[in-house]
Amino acid sequence: MDMPAPDARIMALKPALVARLREVLPHDAVIEDEAETRAYECDALTAYRCPPLAAVLPSSTQEVSDVLRICHEMGVPVVPRGSGTSLAGGALPTADSVILGVSRMTDVLETDYENRFIRLQTGRTNLSVSGAVEEEDFFYAPDPSSQLACAIAGNIAMNSGGAHCLKYGVTTNNLLGVTMVMMDGEVVEIGGAHLDAAGYDLLGLICGSEGQLGVVTEATLRILRKPEGARPVLMGYDSNEVAGQVVSDIIKAGVLPVAIEFMDRPCIRATEDFAHAGYPDCEALLIVEVEGSDAEIDEQLDVILQIARKHNPVELRESGSAEESAKIWLGRKSAFGAMGQINDYMCLDGTIPVSQLPYVLRRIGEMSREYGLGVGNVFHAGDGNMHPLILFDANKPGDLELCEAFGADILRLCVEVGGCLTGEHGVGIEKRDLMVSQFAPDDLDIQMAVKDVFDPKWLLNPAKVFPLAASATRRAA
C-alpha cells in the first residue's frame, strides 16, 4: 500500500507549527518528540506505520477549532484519531501530518431518559456510553467487538456496526446530531435531539466519511431501554449451504433475531482449541439470539427451533441459564483471538447478498488452496457481512503481500456477486485501491466533489478512501 511522499515544505514548518499550536493548547497537549509521536504511528492495521509530524490532544471543541485553523492556514494535513482501533488504516498518519486525537474529550454533556438521548464528547469509548446510562437500564445499541477501546468519534467516522445490528442498526441509525469542526476552524451543529434532519441529510453524509469532512467533537446518540432478557441457541450443520438456508428461512418466517452469527469449520476448530467452548465438530455453526421476556423468547425460539430441526442439525443447543448462554457465545467472542493464536491474520469485511453465502464460502475455500493460506470465516450472517480471517506469517518475506492479494480477490468476489468491499470497517488505506472495482470513475468523482465542498484544500485525512491516482490532482491543488 503506497502513501504519498511527505511534503518537504511542510516538514520544514515543524518548529513554527509546534510553536503556534502551543499558543492555543496546554504544553502537554502538543506532542512533537519523536519517541512520543511513535505512539500514534499506526492503528489496528499494524502492518503500516509512520510517525506523524506532531500529535495534538485538545480538550474542547474550541481547542479543536484553534488547531484546525492553524493547520489550515499553514497548509498542514490533519489526521483525526479516536482510539486507533481502525482495521483499515483510517487513522494512519503520514510523516507530514498532524494527528488530532480526541482521547481527552470524554465528558457526558447531557443525559435525557425521557427524550431518550445522550450528548457527549466523542472521545468517549463506545462501552462507556452504555455504562453512563446503565443505572437507568438504558443502553447504546451499536456494539462493535472493539467496544471496550474504540471511541464514538471513530464509530461515527466509520459508521461502525456490531453483533446486534440486525435488530438495532449501525451507528448511522442511532446518531441524532453532531458538533463538527470544519478544516478551516468553523464549528457547525448538525441535527440535535429531535428526529430527522431539516434540509439535506448531512448527518447521514458525515457518518461514515472516515474523518475526511470534518472533526466530530460532540455527538447526540439515541439510547434505548434494555430488553428484559436475551437467549441464544446454537446450531450445527453438515454444510454451509444448509446453514445458509436456515438463516434465510428464519428471516422469512417473520422472526427478527438480534443476532445471527455464522462460523465455518476452520474457525470452529481454532476456537475449540483455544477457548474450549464445547462446539460441535461440524461444517457450519450458527448462533441465533432473540430478546424479550421469557415468554416472548420461548415464542420466538419455538419458530426458530422448528426451522432448525427441519434442516437436520448435527447439534441443536438451547441455553437454559446465563452460564449456558455465556458458553454459547464464548467461542464466537474468542474467534479473533483464537485465529491470532495460530498465526498473524488479516480480517476482511466484505458484505454479500445472503443468498450468495454458500457460493462465496466455496470460492473462498478454493482460493485458500490456490494461495496456500488458511482462512476462517466468522460473520454476521443475518446481514451478509462476512469476516474472512486470512492467516499469514508476518515474518515470512512475501507472505503479507500474498495475503493482501488473496484478500483483494475475496473482496472483488463480494462485489461481483452483488455485495460491497466493506460492511463496517471502512475503506481507509486498506481498500482504497479496490474502490475502482465497485465504483465507476464518475461515482468516485461525485464523492470526491463532496469532499471538495467540506474541505476544499484536501487537508483532512487526504490519502484515504479514494485511490491515490484518482485523488492526486485534488490533493495537489
Binding site: 448511522t172 468553523e186 424479550g292 421476556s293 416472548e296 445472503v354 468491499l421
Partner: protein
C-alpha cells in the same frame, strides 16, 4: 423510459426542470420549469424475501411494491404516508417520490425513517451523469454515504432512477392501547413512559382526544406487552386494548383529520417533552389543531392560511407541508439553515447540479 433516456433528457435540457414521480407530494417552494416525470421508469428489478431486500425503478407505484411484499408476508417498515388526502392531489405515489422526500410514518420511532431502510440509489445528476451509491446489501460503508444524502433531497441533487430498500416481515398480530380523556401533557407523559419501557412500542400518538400505543409481533408477545403496559401506565387510567386498529393508524399516518378541513399544515420535529408547551404556544398564535405522533416528537399543526407559524428558538425544525403557492413563495417551506450549513447545502447543489436546473429553488427560501 430507460435510465439512459432520463440521462439524455437531463443532459439535453436547456432550462429548469420540474421533477415529478407520481406528482402526489407538491411540497416545497413552487418550481417553474419543464416537467420531467420518472413515472415511466417503472418495475421491480429484484426482490429477495430471504435477504429482506428489494430493488425497484424509481417510478414504480408504491402499491405495486406493497402488493409484492404482502405476498411474501413482508412490508415497507417505515410506513410511508400517502399524501393525496392531505394535499388534495391525484395520481399514483411512486417509490422514488417516497425516497426523494424521505417519507416516514408512525413506526419511524421504533424502526427508523425511510433513509434508514434505503440501501442504495442510482440517479442522474444535473450534468446527465448516471451515478450509483450504496448497493443492495444491508451493511455497506464503502465510500461516502450519498444514499442518505439523496434521501430527502427532493430531486434537487439528482433524479433517482432506481432505489434498493431493506424490508421487514409483517407482524403476526397488532394491538392498540387506547387511553381517552388525557390532556396533552399527561398524554405525552404516558407515551414517554411507554417508549422508555422495554415493551417495544411501534406507534405512540395523541390524536383527537385519544392516546394511542401500538404493539406488533407474535400473539403471546403482543398480549404480554399489552398487559405490562397497562400496569406500567395504570396511573394514567385504564387503557382499552383493541385488536388491530389498522384504520386508526392509517388515519394518523395520512393525517386524515385534516383532509376535509381548510388551513395550512405545518409539520414540526422536536424533542417530545417540549411538545405540549410548543402546542400551547402555537395555539396562542392561532393554530386550529395539533396531532402528536412519534411519542410527541412530531406535531401536525393545522393553522390559518398564510400565517407564519414557525417559532424561533426551536430545538428542532418545522416544515410547511400544505399551503397555497403564494404562501410557499412568501414563507420558507423548510427550516431556515444557519449560514455555514446553508453554504454547505448550496455548494453541494453546485457540485451535483452545476447548471442549477434540477427543481431549482424548491428547498431554498428566496425572499
Amino acid at each position: 423510459m430507460t435510465e439512459e433516456e432520463l440521462s439524455e433528457a437531463i443532459a439535453g435540457a436547456t432550462g429548469p426542470l420540474r421533477i415529478l414521480g407520481g406528482g402526489t407530494r407538491p411540497i416545497g417552494r413552487p418550481v417553474d420549469g419543464a416537467l420531467l416525470s420518472t413515472a415511466a421508469l417503472s418495475g421491480i428489478v429484484d426482490y429477495e424475501p430471504g435477504a429482506l431486500t428489494l430493488v425497484a425503478k424509481a417510478g414504480t407505484p408504491v402499491a405495486e411494491i406493497e402488493t409484492a411484499l404482502a405476498a411474501e408476508g413482508q412490508r415497507l417498515p417505515f410506513e410511508p404516508m400517502d399524501h393525496r388526502g392531505l394535499l388534495g392531489t391525484q395520481g399514483t405515489p411512486t417509490i422514488g417520490g417516497i425516497v426523494a422526500a424521505n417519507v416516514s410514518g408512525p413506526r419511524r420511532i421504533q424502526v427508523g425513517a425511510c433513509r434508514d431502510f434505503l440501501l442504495g440509489v442510482r440517479f442522474v445528476d444535473g450534468r446527465g451523469r448516471v451515478l450509483k451509491n450504496g448497493g443492495r446489501v444491508m451493511k455497506n460503508v464503502t465510500g461516502y454515504d450519498l444514499v442518505k444524502l439523496m434521501a430527502g433531497s427532493r430531486g434537487t441533487l439528482g433524479v433517482l432512477s432506481e432505489v434498493s430498500l431493506k424490508v421487514l416481515p409483517r407482524p403476526a398480530e397488532t394491538a392498540t392501547l387506547r387511553f381517552t380523556g388525557l390532556n396533552e401533557e399527561s398524554a405525552i407523559k404516558a407515551v414517554t413512559a411507554a417508549l422508555g419501557s422495554p415493551f417495544e412500542v411501534t406507534g405512540a400518538a395523541h390524536m383527537q382526544g385519544a392516546t394511542l400505543l401500538r404493539l406488533e409481533g407474535f400473539g403471546e408477545s403482543v398480549r404480554y406487552r399489552a398487559r405490562a403496559l397497562q400496569d406500567l401506565l395504570a396511573s394514567f387510567g385504564k387503557a382499552e386494548v383493541l385488536p388491530d386498529e389498522i384504520e386508526t393508524w392509517q388515519a394518523l399516518r395520512d393525517v386524515a383529520p385534516y383532509h376535509s378541513r381548510t388551513g395550512d399544515v405545518w409539520l414540526y420535529s422536536v424533542t417530545p417533552t417540549e411538545a405540549p408547551a410548543l402546542a400551547g404556544q402555537l395555539r396562542g398564535h392561532g393554530a386550529l389543531d395539533v396531532i402528536f405522533d412519534w411519542g410527541g416528537g412530531r406535531l401536525w399543526v393545522l393553522a390559518p392560511e398564510g400565517q407564519d407559524m414557525r417559532q424561533t428558538n426551536l430545538r428542532g425544525h418545522a416544515t410547511l407541508i400544505r399551503a397555497s403557492k403564494e404562501t410557499r413563495r412568501r414563507l420558507p417551506v423548510f427550516q431556515p439553515e444557519p449560514v455555514p450549513i446553508q453554504k454547505i447545502s448550496q455548494d453541494l447543489r453546485a457540485k451535483f447540479d452545476p447548471r442549477g436546473i434540477l427543481n431549482p429553488g424548491l428547498m431554498e427560501h428566496i425572499p
